[in-house]
Symmetry: C2
């Protein structure tokens, strides 16, 4: 092992240890008595993890001894695994580091619109990740229930429009409730195919065909479809917007995310019956600025609307999520 000590003057010391194996460690001593120690080790199949745990234990003992118990705080963090076949780190929408219990890459493909991953979590089941954002886990029925109005709506005999929703979760729950007709408009056939195969706890058999007794799936960009419905005066009892947070539509109006969101909102409200309801997911509860901006958009629609919101715990998200209900005033 090679030890290199660098005196950084008023900024303390940096000591680097390099082992022949290529593992290395950095010890940084700051002048305010903070000490950080990082071990970087190249491991195949986690074989060396026990040895590193032992090393860390010894290091802790040694430091307690050398500093004679004068340690105010001592914290050891779980190892961060980089470069493996499985990526376990999927930060929250508010930018926090979260390690998931991912143990298998079930699906990983680029469609014309986005990167589509389905990763297996031991506890959450398969999780759909679009462009790096966790969309839905098989554990996440609470998401679907929240975006459907928490079980208090009577969907029997109703006409419903789903925007997006390629995982099939909303469609699967809706068709159980004997609606008159559910129309789902999802742009990405590859999402539908991947979820049909790998998210069956979420979508059941509802994506096996794009058409059923009381539903149809249109594989199209929802913007022109909404425009056509608005033009012909077609109205729905419910519009459920389950589009991804970051728009993937290629409409010319999409100059900014907010313009796109307002465009969708305006069109959705246009195809809503006077007594109709519009459901959508908003954002994580912590992004209060983004939520406030979304609510500002609601005041800029072609017709006045009212809204309510609720905060929901979606199991695989590791953060609370806000859902909106919007209706015509």
């Amino acid at each position: 092992m090679t030890e290199t000590v660098q005196n950084l003057g008023e900024n303390g010391y940096l000591v680097t240890y390099v082992a022949k194996s290529g593992s290395f460690a950095t010890l940084r001593m700051y002048t305010d008595k903070l000490l950080t120690f990082d071990i970087h080790s190249y491991e195949v199949d986690n074989k060396g993890r026990a040895a590193i745990e032992t090393l860390c234990n010894r290091l802790e003992e040694k430091m307690k001894d050398v500093l004679r118990g004068n340690i105010k705080r001592l914290k050891r963090l779980p190892a961060i695994v980089r470069g493996g076949a499985i990526d376990r780190y999927w930060p929250t929408a508010d930018g926090r580091l979260v390690e998931y219990d991912i143990d298998d890459v079930v699906y990983d493909e680029d469609s014309a619109y986005q990167n589509i991953k389905i990763l297996h979590s031991k506890q959450f089941g398969n999780i759909l990740i679009l462009n790096g954002d966790i969309n839905l886990g098989e554990s996440d029925l609470p998401y679907t229930q929240a975006i459907m109005g928490d079980g208090v709506e009577d969907y029997k005999g109703k006409e419903i429009l789903i925007l997006g929703g390629g995982d099939g979760g909303i469609l699967y729950e809706l068709v159980k409730l004997k609606p008159k007709m559910v129309t789902m408009v999802e742009i990405d056939q590859m999402v539908i195919d991947a979820c049909c195969k790998h998210m069956r706890k979420t979508c059941g058999d509802v994506l096996d065909n794009l058409k059923g007794d009381c539903y149809q799936v249109l594989v199209e960009d929802c913007v022109p479809v909404l425009k056509a419905y608005a033009a012909e005066g077609r109205l729905f009892d419910y519009v459920i917007n389950d589009l991804t947070a970051v728009p993937i539509s290629t409409s010319p109006e999409e100059e900014s995310t907010w313009d796109f969101l307002r465009l969708i909102l305006d069109l959705a409200v246009k195809v809503l019956k006077p007594t109709g309801k519009y459901f959508t997911q908003g954002n994580c509860a912590n992004l209060t600025d983004a939520l406030a901006m979304y609510e500002q958009q609601l005041n800029k629609l072609y017709c006045p609307v009212e809204y309510s919101k609720k905060v929901v715990c979606v199991p695989s998200y590791a953060e609370l999520w806000v859902f909106y209900t919007v209706w015509k005033k």
Copy 2:
């Protein structure tokens, strides 16, 4: 900036960059084309974070350019903050790294039994952390509901014994349901006092006094209390075990965690009416071995019992949790 290149032969290269400010970076090139780059920076009040983001952006651009797009995967992780007043990293029971949105240390004291922390999370409210384990957030009514049988039990006129439960959550929810008498046995007065002051969304005013019309709080080790109840033949309709996962009792029987768990189980079943129910939290859903061992203990009690379990999403846990119901055969 000082650059030090170390040729590690068949193990690749290690390059260390040290700035005059004391910030440093390590670039490790592995021979299988994995490249890790770590920036360590000493920041006061997060001031330099934007500059580091810019540096990372430039680095990504540069690497894409140098490698002519031949990058299969490129992942940037959120910065890990160490040594600050606020510790945001509270690993899950199954050992995964989770960064919480902690923005304030509300309480941090050592009692005779354990370290007690109450940290404020923007989304979860105040969170009680005992010996480094997240116990309960103010967001976590689902925990309390789960350990009370999910709202299907009729507690009216019943006699209930709570083991532990110092945060007052179970007691607060129970007294709303007009029980005959709730007896709570919590060993740590400091937990009660801290939660009474800082977890009021969880405990309401129920901990303001240790006695109410239909409840009493005994600040004692529950083991001798249970033994006394068993000796005098006192029986309860419900026993709710809300003790911490790692025992803090000092009973002589506590030779191992499992012995302690079985001791508590045996005593709890002894003070249970023939029709009574015992509720407890088990462990995180991923620790299947620990759950199986717990279930083995259930087969070793002084009298035969049956049990059911359910998996519950507790908002602040970032992992699914198993709860048990146990009853006499």
